[in-house]
């Protein structure tokens, strides 16, 4: 399994699609990208269900089992995402640095509202 690059720059650069993975002319039939995307959506749906079960279950051992399954389902979701990303099936537009810098200043000011004395 290929690893998702942790470097932000690499993230943005990997929007180039790998050649030959998808049909050149796309019709109404599902392609590999659609299929993997649907599996990704299924994993999302399942984690949502397990998350609710986790805080609703009264049986302790059952709760632990459900929590383990929830984690594994999250992991499967992540692996599917990474595969899609590595194939260049995900586009991630980069945020402007000035916007990020402004938000940094704004939320730094909010630190003055912290209830715990530093």
């Amino acid at each position: 399994m290929q690893q998702l690059p942790t470097n932000t720059k690499e993230h943005i650069m990997m929007t180039q699609q790998k050649p030959g993975l998808l049909p050149k002319v796309k019709g109404p039939e599902m392609n590999d990208r659609d299929r993997l995307n649907d599996v990704l959506a299924t994993e999302k749906y399942l984690t949502h269900g397990y998350n609710i079960s986790c805080y609703e279950m009264s049986h302790r051992e059952l709760h632990d089992t459900v929590l383990r399954i929830l984690n594994e389902t999250h992991e499967a979701h992540r692996v599917c995402f990474e595969q899609m990303f590595n194939n260049g099936w995900y586009k991630l537009p980069q945020e402007e640095l000035s916007e990020v810098a402004l938000a940094y200043q704004q939320f730094q000011n909010y630190q003055g509202q912290f209830p715990y004395p530093q």
């Binding site: 993975l21 590999d32 599996v39 399942l46 269900g49 609703e56 049986h59």
Partner: protein, 138 residues
């Protein structure tokens, strides 16, 4: 009080309580077979009657299971039980979907990944199903 009769019927059912057929049983029948605090086995007039009626094999098996565990309770709350049934159905659907997609995939790497995910769902199904096993949850 029909509400109470329904409750009795539901509690009585113990392990077999989930089945819709059971809910169709008249409150009268439920009262006949339910005695507070008693685990009941063996002969019951109306069970005998029912087994003489023509039934499919599947229905007979359901009847047998109901009789076997009548009056006993699983270590599962109704709520937990209902959540579990939902999860099992979703896991089954997910593994079927994965197997189907993997067989259709053009890229072998994508097919392998989807198959791995499908097998994970199969494992999850089996782990959850253990909580329904009467031998382990009585």
């Amino acid at each position: 009080m029909p509400q109470n009769k329904h409750d009795q019927q539901h509690r009585m059912s113990g392990y077999g309580g989930w089945h819709p057929e059971h809910m169709q049983q008249s409150p009268y029948q439920a009262q006949m077979t339910y005695k507070m605090g008693e685990t009941q086995y063996g002969y019951h007039p109306h069970h005998q009657q029912q087994s003489q009626q023509p039934q499919s094999q599947q229905q007979q098996m359901k009847q047998q299971i109901r009789q076997q565990y009548q009056g006993q309770y699983a270590q599962l709350s109704t709520k937990d039980f209902n959540y579990l049934k939902d999860h099992l159905s979703w896991e089954l659907l997910a593994m079927k979907k994965c197997a189907h997609y993997a067989a259709e995939c053009q890229d072998p790497q994508t097919a392998q990944l989807i198959n791995q995910v499908g097998m994970m769902h199969e494992r999850h199904y089996n782990s959850l199903l253990q909580y329904f096993n009467p031998q382990s949850v009585q």
